[in-house]
Homo-oligomer: 262 residues x 2
């Protein structure tokens, strides 16, 4: 209910000058920002940028960075599409709503991931993107993306891949929600997170969930009580350790067996 509208008021002292259009976003001032030197490059924009020409192009891709506090909104559904955002630190949930008022957490995005892709062709964003913790994101203005894509074929490919991967990912979620039992969905969710943390160089067996039980449930098509019960049951069965939002996976094999069971 209050998920999408939970825009906490930013600390007033933090930023003196408040922009009229995006009062909630704090631009990270003069800080030098470039994909070329970014250490998330291999996850975020895995294009070969040794070529000096490409390098020059890439240097102009990111204009500014934006800083969000927990609960603040990066973009809203229906807002004019201005570009993509790459998460540098922190994490973001995307919330999709229907006309009927139904609302669902459609995505949980970590460091190095790019959000906003569903807005590319339609001129408007199609979901709300909300910071789950203090988060920094690079802005990738769409005109620059277009230019770069037009001038560099490998980047163009990368952009296509970004979009089609999003389709495949959505489809996987649909399949999971549509054909799996609750325990399978949660196990699948945990293993997916584990893989993504591992790909980022973090421990695949211990991580902190940035979402509430209710948000996880919404994402998986379950109720919060069901999520809570399943965490407890997995813990009882020795598959995981649960300490609030800190999760340790003890038996990933067993979890994957649950996913593929019957």
């Amino acid at each position: 209910m209050q998920v999408a509208t939970a825009v906490r008021v930013p600390a007033p002292a933090r930023s003196a000058k408040v922009r009229p259009l995006r009062p909630l976003l704090h631009e990270v001032g003069r800080e030098r920002v470039s994909c070329v030197t970014c250490n998330l490059r291999r996850i975020c924009m895995p294009v070969d940028i040794v070529d000096p020409e490409t390098k020059a192009l890439f240097a102009s891709l990111v204009s500014t960075r934006v800083r969000l506090r927990k609960g603040e909104v990066l973009f809203r559904s229906g807002e004019k599409f201005t570009g993509l955002f790459a998460i540098r630190t922190g994490s973001i949930k995307t919330v999709t709503a229907t006309d009927d008022g139904a609302e669902q957490v459609s995505g949980y995005h970590l460091q190095g991931e790019i959000v906003g892709v569903e807005g590319i062709g339609n001129d408007v964003y199609a979901c709300n993107a909300v910071a789950l913790e203090d988060t920094e994101a690079c802005t990738l203005p769409f005109d620059r993306i277009e230019t770069l894509a037009h001038e560099d074929a490998s980047f163009q490919r990368r952009l296509y891949r970004l979009l089609s991967s999003a389709i495949v990912r959505e489809r996987t979620v649909t399949l999971m929600v549509g054909s799996m039992r609750a325990e399978q969905r949660l196990a699948s969710f945990l293993l997916d997170l584990s893989n993504r943390y591992q790909a980022r160089g973090y421990s695949p067996s211990e991580f902190v969930l940035r979402m509430t039980r209710e948000e996880i449930g919404s994402h998986l098509g379950l109720k919060l009580e069901t999520v809570s019960r399943l965490f407890s049951r997995f813990a009882d069965e020795g598959l995981i350790l649960v300490n609030g939002r800190v999760i340790r996976l003890l038996d990933r094999l067993a979890l994957s067996q649950i996913v593929s069971a019957s």
Copy 2:
């Protein structure tokens, strides 16, 4: 179970020369094929192609057409991505499978729609596309799409739109499957079909389902018995008329109220 593997043997007399790589597909021989003169253009490729230069480009977009009989496969998951397909007549279901053997009908595509988009960035198709009836599809080889997109900005935009719309559509399905009750899902499915048929100039209130109850159920995350029961119940309540796969919507307002209920 037999959904994806139900490749009926094509009539042997129909096509004398059998291609080695795609023995199941019948190319439509010398027939003149061009987007420029196609009467599905406004649905399929709504770009302005009055400009003579664009016209020339478009003339080269579609190379051949392919003819499928009911049950034949247009492309398979894992197969190398060669391009997109535009459905000229007939209809196609896309079936997505997980590693665990779980399988789900992920899409139901009508005349004028384009399938294969999820393969664009990944070099392989990510689902099986199966003809639900005798179907003709235009092949849009990816190299030509790339060329055209590079040379014509409005087509590039159209391509982005195609991809992002697919994301949004998938997300809608996820939301439906994840947060709606069975009757809401079926009502939503029927209304969606109604709208799409209307957009194609067909009756929005009477159409023929090309999928079995089981396939519909799979698409909506339900069992076939549930789908059947709901059809009967909607019919009892005077909302629809059911005669096998022929559906007539009697009260679309009531159906949309079911969708948005609670």
